[in-house]
């Protein structure tokens, strides 16, 4: 075991900020290359004309998921040292529904609004102060929302535990579901108006 590198002391807090810039650069670069600096391309996902959002997201998840699993199996990466996101079932379900409404109305999610803004898209730039306003409203209302956003806590709970199968089996299953999803996405796109390009 010698990863996560930061947890194993390979570098300190100062150097971690240089890592932050490098990872951010890679993240922003990939989002823009995928076409996610363009709200028309993102929105086309929800009119079934261009399913790039689905393809990119699930390829990224399967890639990282498989990498995490293999690196932990060969003993390089200690999965228990990676921060695990706790599950709060009801707030995450309702928050997701609300997020989806905001996404198709605003045209971007938070990360894609950043690359849209930095590639000159005025609509992407405007999403950012909107997002700040929404977050500010939440912070101000927090004393009244505290009970709701902390309800149904399930702790660190993963899909393998939910299904009662080994972690590796769930990794394989999600990979299989993704492949079936890509095949279906290509069929669905044939009925749409075609992929959205730049301009």
């Amino acid at each position: 075991m010698n990863a996560p590198l930061y947890q194993y002391g390979a570098f300190g807090p100062g150097a971690s900020l240089i890592v932050a810039v490098a990872i951010g650069l890679g993240f922003g670069f990939c989002l823009e290359r995928a076409g996610f600096g363009n709200a028309r391309k993102l929105a086309a996902q929800f009119y079934l004309n261009d399913l790039t959002v689905f393809k990119v997201m699930f390829t990224a998840i399967v890639t990282a998921m498989t990498g995490l699993y293999l690196l932990s199996r060969i003993g390089v990466l200690d999965l228990s040292l990676i921060y695990h996101l706790p599950t709060y079932l009801v707030p995450q379900l309702l928050g997701g529904l609300l997020f989806g409404v905001g996404f198709v109305v605003g045209g971007y999610c938070p990360g894609t609004s950043c690359v849209a803004a930095s590639s000159g898209k005025i609509d992407g730039l405007v999403v950012i102060p909107g997002m700040m306003a929404g977050i500010w409203i939440f912070v101000e209302l927090y004393p009244r929302l505290e009970g709701f956003v902390n309800m149904t806590p399930m702790g660190d709970f993963d899909l393998a535990q939910l299904a009662g199968v080994p972690y590796g089996a769930m990794v394989l299953l999600i990979g299989g579901v993704a492949l079936a999803g890509f095949w279906m996405a290509n069929r669905i796109e044939r009925g749409g108006s075609g992929a959205v390009g730049p301009e």
């Binding site: 650069l25 996902q45 998921m65 695990h84 599950t87 997002m131 390009g197």
Partner: protein
């Protein structure tokens, strides 16, 4: 740089693979995934604290985002990462001849209408990221790759919410 013909986007599977490697490198180097909305929250809370310090201290949510030395690094880390995201998007767009000052919209809506929708949609989404404890990056991608049940529920709910709303805002996009 604005006169060049824009180059086409990457193949979606290639882009997804590259994005997955960036996410994996965050896990391997820092023991955490990607994120955006947490950094925006830190920025908002820092703004509130600058204008009304006592008010921010009295709010338990804001106080947590002000940092206590233990969580401070990660919060700062995320803010720096988002600055990288902005720079990465700019770099990619310029290199591909895709930098344009423009408003992305469908043909049936005015630029003004589209910008109002962008602000309103952004506000709804920002609020939702706090309810769900993250966005498409910090919750859906990061938690998705770690098989978190809450992250998968959040991700499927995003698609459900957006598909359910798409018909009503079709004039904005089609």
């Amino acid at each position: 740089m604005t006169s060049r013909t824009p180059r086409p986007y990457w193949n979606p599977y290639f882009a997804g693979f590259a994005l997955g490697l960036v996410l994996l490198s965050a896990f391997v180097s820092m023991g955490r995934g990607l994120g955006i909305s947490g950094a925006v929250t830190t920025t908002v809370v820092a703004g509130v604290a600058a204008v009304a310090p006592a008010h921010a201290e009295a709010n338990p949510y804001a106080a947590a985002y002000l940092g206590d030395g233990r969580t401070g690094l990660f919060k700062d880390w995320l803010v720096i990462e988002v600055l990288g995201v902005l720079a990465g998007g700019l770099l990619s767009a310029v290199l591909a001849g895709r930098f344009r000052w423009k408003v992305e919209k469908g043909p049936r809506i005015s630029a003004r209408g589209r910008l109002m929708a962008a602000f309103g949609g952004g506000a709804v989404m920002g609020f939702a990221t706090r309810v769900a404890r993250g966005c498409t990056s910090g919750q859906a991608l990061t938690g998705g790759a770690m098989l978190s049940v809450g992250s998968w529920v959040f991700m499927l709910a995003i698609f459900a919410g957006a598909y359910a709303t798409a018909y009503f805002v079709r004039r904005e996009w089609t």
